[in-house]
Amino acid sequence: MKSFQPTLFFVSSWLALLLLGNGTTPHAGAATSTEIQKSINAINATGLEGKGNTQAGPAWKTLSKADTSAISPILQAMNGASPMARNWFRSALEVIVSQEIKSGKPLPINIIGDFLLNTNNSPQGRRLAYDLIALSDPDTAAKLIPGMLNDPSPQLRRDAVQGLIKEATDLQSAKKDAAASLLYRQALNSARDTDQIKKIAGQLKQLGNEVDLPRHFGFFTHWKVIAPFDNTNREGFDAVFAPEKEINLQAKYPSKEGKEIGWQDLALSDEYGMLDLNQPFGPLKEVTGYAYTEMEFDTARPAELRIGCKNAWKIWFNGQLIFARDEYHRGMKIDQYSLPIQLKKGKNSLLIKLCQNEQTQSWTVEWQAQIRICDASGTAILAKDRQPTPKAKKATRRKLKK
């Protein structure tokens, strides 16, 4: 092996970026504030299908060649920017900062810190601001993290939760179970990422604590369900069955087989909110089912409707079709899809259509979804009329028929 190994320098991508250059060299004369604002405007004018790309490229170049005076306006530009525009800004900012550090100049930590500490600012932008501070002053940055346990930025909150998990794990290892439980419970209160929640919940249960995960996530647990309608040849996805025309929970309709079917109650005790239509209807194939629920909120507000599903599905919120997707059995996870919605004050309604296809492999049995409403950070928005989470039924031993 030859002697040179960049691996040694590659402590982190950021560090490498700084130590080994960023591919650009600054202009002799940095951009003026007018040029910076003009460039920000050009990037903010980008849109779908490549709109504004031709202007955004030169604008990025102008920003990336700017000095530290551009840091604050670029960070501010993150607020209200589109996801793509935020990426344009992030990339330009990282080049500016790496140039500054490369040339030995100190970063304007106060300016970046002002942006970080204002929780009204863009969550992604604030995470970027934190990373920039950590780059310049890692000790100070590390001290900021514990205070971000309930930060609106899930990216910042995650690190704080991780710190608490570590402390709880240490206590658990030292056989201080009561103290560990307390810290795990505090971590769970703040955790929004599924991997962290699963880890914490597992430890809490191991330590003898009860955990109400459906409530933590905000999964809907009480449904009215109706099935089976037809989905032969996958045509049920586009077909409009009665529940899409009216919600009448007392009505009866003809099923796929011509039998009379009506809405029935389904209460979910699954800790991850699995709305499993195989439970009430059996493992059917080439069928369509619906689930309906209502909820009441104190105030109108924007929210996210989050779904995990491996069947074809359509979802309506307050009677409006929000999204439709006809992919079957390619995998599911919590929060697989995030859809913006507007909650009304008072009663709101949710209808989901779940189509099961013709596949017969063992991994195509599932006919299910996980559905919740939360804010942008992933914090559950619980209905004021939310019912207690149903208790899981104890498994009963079935008698074999002789």
């Binding site: 960049p6 650009t24 006809d326 697989q336």
Partner: protein, 403 residues
């Protein structure tokens, strides 16, 4: 004046000649999209001494590295749910980082656990770098790392995703960047403007999961892009997306076809060779079909008048490209997710455990002549350029060269 002219000429030569005097590897499976590059001289006596340099990467990737001049470009994804997307350029001689750009994914990052968000290989036209991710985020850079444009194909087309992950690698054909985004819900192929990223054309594609990559064929002076799917292969003009021909006998959705001029070798009912030279709208002519030569995950490799296929059991078959007749077989140490590549009389393939194998293919029987164990998972395809092999593992980019 003469001196000035001479200096000017020298400067022109210096500026216009390739600094590394090596052929570039601009896309998945090389300059011809068939795994072969002419004129490279990679090391054949592979050993730990062959490691010229390695560079640590912060996340996984299946994407092949590409070589553009002195740049080795590679992508990866890191962080919770692989939402941090990275594009790196390393100096091919030294492994020193030239530039690094990172972005937040704007599309879905869910994938099956074996694959990952950095599955599609980047592509280049020699002047730009195009990097696509399974999240449907697509970026264009200058060779110096200037961000020139970006697309979020999931924001553009919200149902164009596959919950198992996408993996089709874009290619540059003519004046277009060809992307093939195929899945169960909203499938399309598009020809994007190289300079601006806007759609020059977009066509609907079969609604079915598909991980194959477009392949460019040359019929006379005309370039035709072959778009493979479970339905078969559609030949379109890169400039307009207009259909030229359609092969409707079905094809695989993981291994891609391999082109040699106007002939295409398709993983279809085993392996099927077609002739596509006519631009008159006639469907391609089938040259031969061999049901026993069934590519596994690896795509076929073409070397001169031979074609190489690795099946799901890791058996390498060498066949006559003109007739399909099997010439020899050799069991390799698999399993393989990446595809074989070649220059001269040597074939290179890395298995999933990171074992690189050099196979001598010029004789009447194939023979593994050297191996190198990178001791890290390799799921991608290597790149060949100049005197070197470039391959990426789960955590590193490696350059292998003669000590």
């Amino acid at each position: 004046m003469k001196t000035l002219f001479a200096l000017s000429s020298l400067l022109t030569i210096l500026l216009t000649s390739s600094p590394s005097a090596q052929a570039d590897w601009l896309q998945f499976r090389g300059p011809n999209g068939n795994g072969y590059i002419d004129g490279a001289n990679p090391p054949t006596a592979l050993s730990q001494d062959s490691i010229a340099w390695s560079a640590e990467l912060p996340g996984r990737g299946l994407a092949s590295p590409i070589i553009v001049g002195d740049n080795v470009i590679v992508t990866c994804a890191s962080g919770p749910e692989q939402r941090q997307l990275h594009i790196y350029s390393f100096d091919q001689k030294t492994g020193v980082l030239r530039w690094h750009r990172q972005f937040w994914a704007t599309g879905r990052t869910m994938t099956q656990s074996k694959t990952c968000v950095a599955a599609p290989s980047p592509a280049s036209d020699g002047k730009h770098v195009y990097a696509l991710f399974s999240s449907n985020d697509l970026y264009c850079f200058s060779l110096d790392g200037d961000l020139l444009w970006m697309r979020s194909l999931t924001l553009d087309y919200p149902n164009a995703s596959n919950s198992l992950g996408l993996a089709s690698s874009p290619i540059v054909a003519g004046e277009r960047l060809i992307v093939q985004i195929e899945n169960d819900s909203d499938s399309f192929a598009a020809g994007l403007n190289l300079e601006s990223g806007v759609n020059e054309w977009k066509i609907a594609r079969p609604k079915a999961a598909n991980w194959t990559s477009p392949v460019a064929l040359k019929a006379g002076n005309q370039v035709i892009v072959a778009l493979q799917s479970s339905k078969g292969v559609l030949g379109v003009l890169p400039a307009t997306g207009s259909e030229i021909w359609n092969f409707t006998k079905g094809a695989a959705t993981i291994p891609s076809g391999a082109a040699a001029g106007d002939q295409l070798y398709i993983p279809s009912n085993g392996l099927t060779a077609i002739q596509t030279s006519k631009l008159t709208g006639e469907d391609p002519k089938k040259l031969w079909n061999e049901g026993q030569q069934r590519p596994g995950t690896a795509s076929p490799l073409i070397v001169g008048d031979k074609i190489f296929v690795i099946n799901g059991a890791g058996v390498l078959t060498c066949a006559n490209r003109n007739s399909g007749e099997r010439l020899w077989r050799l069991r390799l140490k698999g399993p393989f997710s990446g595809s074989p590549v070649s220059s001269g009389n040597n074939l290179f393939i890395f298995n999933e455990q990171g074992l690189g194998q050099c196979v001598e293919i010029g004789a009447s029987e194939g023979k593994v002549i050297s191996e190198i164990d990178l001791k890290e998972t390799v799921l991608g395809t290597a790149a060949l350029s100049g005197q070197a092999i470039y391959v990426r593992s789960d955590g590193h980019l490696w350059k292998l060269a003669n000590p």
